[in-house]
């Protein structure tokens, strides 16, 4: 019941937006997303206390093909659902100061995207997963393409085609796995886990899935679409992309790649780990050189998710648990960072670091909030980022010490570029002496303060989230180890 409501509420509210007048679109969206958040928190409480029956829903959809509309929430999905439901009201509220042309379309697209995102995280049927995975592409394409900045048309088209190309290869793999299931074939994900595939099969299935998720996350060298797309997208679009959408790729790695193609992972694991670590260092170095604040955070995002992906590939409990909690944290941090950059851009008219300076003196509360989130992004102990990075590095170290050393550079380089940002933007002398912008208003504070509190809260008490995902993570790793064991026993 709860699961289907998580999908139904965004859908119903998006229809409501179309019917109601444009002035009320934002309020309607906000109430819809808050309702979804309440539902997600309710589900979280239920889940933590062990009552999970309400969270399943399964009806036949296309019986001729064995496709079920099968959704359900396990530990990993729960955190993803909570993250999505939590970030959405903030993202919607962040548009309150922007003049949006044609708001009905904009908010309807945002809610449709929430439907798609929720669906990806709770699908237990591979076909359904694929449908929701693709479904999210259309709203974000139109959001970026219609309300974006300059050069948005070629950039968003490249993003769309690139991402779709990867996921189409995933479709081939899914159909192939479907025909491998015994008897009356089924798309059920758990039956995919139980397939015994030969090693060569697993290798190409690994690559098909990896391609799809590597482009989405993005992992070096499939990241070229990301900085441009984040830059031209409207702020709400960037928050959606960075905060939630890329987590679909990481979630897919855990849900599909690890359990279904462990042989492929064993064969290519070092290579993918190498790609991730190279990506971390590469993106951090580029972020160090950036002048455009949005691009800087975009590149830092590539570095962070490279670390998360490396943690997933490390195939141990610390790594994967660290990945899941860091997905949550990264979502919170990056949404807060992009929002505050948006505030700066609106007040000062520029995102260019050289043209900014002394913001701290003029907007004291913003500088404090930015410091908190920045420290969370850098990974100072007592912030959420530290918990995630510590677990991830622990997991990667267990995989290979050199990988951990290289990945650990993310801590250093992250501090470098983020502190450079802070120094150039918030400290120093003011560049333009004309007007003194006002500090954060109440609405903006209502968005920023809870996010800052989350940064600290999850840093201080992470087991709230870690406990939820633990058993599901152990199950997936069990599947990986079992299939590796059974093959080594042969």
């Amino acid at each position: 019941m709860v699961a289907i409501l998580l999908l139904a509420i965004p859908f119903i509210f998006s229809l409501l937006i179309v019917l109601l007048p444009a002035r009320q679109s934002r309020m309607v969206t906000l109430s819809g997303t808050l309702l979804t958040l309440a539902l997600a928190v309710f589900a979280f409480i239920r889940f933590s206390s062990g009552e999970t029956e309400q969270l399943l829903f399964n009806i036949a959809w296309v019986p001729a093909f064995g496709i079920q509309f099968n959704i359900g929430i396990d530990g990993i999905s729960m955190i993803m659902v909570l993250m999505t439901a939590l970030l959405y009201p903030f993202i919607v509220a962040s548009t309150s100061k922007t003049e949006i042309i044609n708001p009905k379309a904009f908010y309807a697209l945002m809610l449709t995207m929430e439907l798609g995102l929720m669906g990806v995280f709770i699908s237990k049927d591979a076909f359904l997963f694929y449908i929701f995975y693709e479904l999210t592409l259309i709203p974000i394409y139109f959001i970026c393409g219609i309300w974006g900045g300059a050069r948005r048309i070629p950039v968003t088209l490249k993003f769309f085609i690139y991402t779709l190309a990867g996921s189409l290869f995933m479709l081939i793999a899914i159909i192939y796995l479907y025909f491998k299931t015994p008897g009356d074939h089924t798309f059920d994900i758990t039956s995919f886990y139980q397939l015994n595939l030969s090693a060569p099969e697993q290798v190409w299935i690994f690559w098909a899935f990896f391609l799809a998720f590597a482009i989405k996350i993005p992992i070096f060298p499939f990241h070229t679409w990301q900085p441009d797309t984040y830059e031209v997208a409207p702020t709400a679009g960037t928050m959606l992309l960075a905060g939630i959408m890329l987590k679909m790729g990481l979630y897919g790695l855990i849900r599909f790649l690890l359990p279904v193609a462990p042989q492929g992972l064993a064969a290519w694991g070092n290579f993918t780990m190498l790609l991730c670590t190279v990506g971390i260092v590469y993106a951090s170095l580029i972020a160090w050189r950036q002048q455009d604040l949005k691009r800087l955070i975009a590149y830092s995002s590539i570095a962070h998710v490279g670390l998360i992906a490396a943690g997933i590939f490390s195939l141990n409990a610390s790594g994967v648990q660290g990945a899941i909690i860091q997905m949550f944290n990264h979502g919170v941090n990056v949404v807060a960072l992009f929002y505050m950059i948006d505030i700066i851009e609106k007040r000062y008219g520029t995102r260019w670091m050289d043209d900014l300076g002394g913001v701290g003196g003029q907007m004291k509360r913003l500088s404090v909030a930015f410091m908190v989130v920045m420290l969370g992004s850098v990974g100072l102990p007592l912030t959420n980022g530290f918990v995630g990075e510590f677990l991830l590095l622990l997991g990667i170290y267990q995989y290979g010490a050199w990988f951990a050393a290289a990945a650990g550079l993310t801590l250093v380089l992250g501090a470098v570029y983020m502190f450079r940002l802070y120094r150039n933007v918030f400290l120093g002398s003011v560049k333009d002496h004309h007007t003194v912008p006002s500090d954060i208003t109440l609405t903006e504070g209502l968005i920023i303060v809870p996010l800052c509190l989350l940064v600290v809260a999850v840093g201080v008490y992470p087991s709230l989230l870690l406990n939820v995902s633990e058993s599901a993570v152990r199950q997936i790793l069990q599947l990986v180890n079992n299939s590796n064991l059974s093959l080594s026993a042969l």
């Binding site: 959809w61 001729a64 088209l157 085609i161 779709l164 025909f179």
Partner: protein, 456 residues
């Protein structure tokens, strides 16, 4: 039998009636007649009525007949609305459409090669005439002549192939040929030559590479709605005939032509999609895209399992709806004097949002993106191919799918993300309603594919 009689009688009545002064009764007559014909077709479901030993109205025939009848109905409504005050030969066009439908029914229900030929010719002759409807337009005349010459040439191939098969097996009946092929495991030269010649003739009709060269010029020259009719009914009927022939007749010898079909399918997809990338005219782009879609459907033909006819049927529905919408919108833009260039779409999102959204959904469906019918159709075809182990072909088809996004999205981008001039774009009420119904079908078939996927 009732079906054929209804359609033929309707055609003759319309033709005779167009001579009279008072002609406002012809459209209602056609519509009622088509609905009656659909009823007769549906009544033949699960009946397997055999007609003179030359045709059999089985479920396959009924399904494809219904699809084509509904497409023709949509065409008649749209054509009537746009041409009622302009074209004095309007009702003769209806007569030709009805005669072509007779050809369609014969083509999808044949059991003898002769009826296959008969059906193809009836349909093709009607289409040749319709392509040249604009008597004073040079492009239209060129389209008709080109179509006629190349069509007649390819029908020659068809007949040659039929003759070869008759020479080898001694019968025109498709079932006899299948029996012969079942007995003789190694098909002799006459059989192989006959199959290939037949394939050439039919691939021409379907517009598969390398027999597609007539398509862009003919599609661009013909009046836009007629192009819509050719792209839907013409192509779907030809494909249904091709699939029927190969499923009923040649399955025992499939090994001899499977690789050939695979190569043709891949070439068709690439030629269609890559050339469409360079088109500035929407009609030519849609023509090349229809070539590419024939390529996707040929993949289903290669995989001779029980998924194939269901896949092609579902694909036919998805493709027909999307094509009718696309050509309908282009026709409306042409009527508003905006031309058929992609630049005609600029600012359509503001001028006429309903048209822009329906066109966008049609493009999204043709590109094969969920949750539209086009996605499930592609998925169905990919499943049919992967089941038989043709994974490489599906990978190539997938590459083509995302190449196609580029040109399918160009009009969509122009509609929503670019500014246009002030020319208003108005659609007639019937066309508007039809477009919405077609979009509804695309979305419903995409979200609840079970409704149509289990039929064949």
């Amino acid at each position: 039998m009732n079906l054929l009689i209804t359609l033929s009688a309707l055609g003759i009545l319309t033709m005779l009636g167009s001579v009279l002064k008072e002609r406002s009764w012809i459209l209602p007559l056609c519509v009622t007649g088509l609905l009656l014909a659909s009823y007769f077709a549906l009544a033949g479901w699960d009946m397997n009525a055999a007609l003179f030993g030359m045709m059999r109205i089985d479920n396959y025939a009924v399904a494809f007949t219904i699809v084509n009848l509904i497409a023709a109905l949509v065409f008649i409504f749209m054509y009537h609305e746009t041409h009622v005050n302009v074209d004095e030969h309007l009702h003769e066009v209806f007569a030709i459409v009805l005669f072509s439908l007779v050809g369609v029914v014969v083509m999808v229900s044949f059991t003898s090669m002769l009826t296959l030929f008969l059906g193809i010719e009836i349909l093709s002759l009607s289409l040749y005439i319709m392509a040249g409807l604009r008597k004073r337009d040079l492009l239209s005349n060129e389209a008709a002549l080109k179509y006629f010459l190349m069509g007649a040439f390819s029908t020659g191939f068809l007949l040659f192939g039929i003759a070869m098969l008759y020479g080898a097996t001694g019968s025109f009946m498709v079932s006899d040929i299948a029996y012969y092929l079942g007995i003789h495991s190694a098909p002799g030269p006459f059989i192989v030559a006959g199959i290939i010649l037949l394939l050439v003739g039919l691939l021409f009709k379907v517009a598969a590479a390398p027999f597609h060269f007539w398509t862009p010029d003919v599609y661009q020259g013909a009046p836009t709605l007629v192009t819509g009719y050719m792209a839907t009914v013409g192509k779907v009927a030809a494909f249904a005939a091709l699939l029927r022939l190969f499923q009923l007749g040649f399955t025992p010898a499939i090994a001899s032509y499977q690789s050939l079909l695979a190569v043709v399918a891949v070439i068709t997809m690439f030629v269609g999609n890559l050339t469409a990338l360079y088109q500035k005219s929407t009609k030519r782009m849609l023509a090349y895209s229809s070539i590419a879609h024939a390529g996707y459907m040929l993949i289903a033909l290669m995989a001779s399992n029980n998924f194939a006819s269901g896949a092609v049927f579902f694909y036919a529905i998805a493709y027909s709806c999307a094509s009718l919408i696309a050509f309908g919108v282009v026709a409306i833009l042409q009527q508003s004097d905006l031309g058929d260039d992609i630049t005609a779409f600029k600012g359509l999102g503001k001028k006429n949002p309903v048209l822009a959204i329906t066109f966008a959904i049609a493009m999204i469906s043709l590109a094969g993106i969920p949750p539209t019918a086009g996605f499930f159709a592609k998925f169905y075809i990919f499943s049919a191919a992967i089941k038989d182990g043709w994974v490489w072909i599906v990978a190539l088809a997938v590459i083509n799918s995302f190449i196609s996004i580029y040109f399918y999205f160009r009009p969509v981008i122009a509609s929503f993300m670019e500014k246009g001039n002030d020319t208003p774009v108005l659609a007639g009420r019937t066309t508007w309603l039809l477009l919405i119904i077609l979009v509804f079908i695309i979305l419903v078939a995409g979200i609840f594919p079970g409704l149509a996927s289990g039929i064949l």
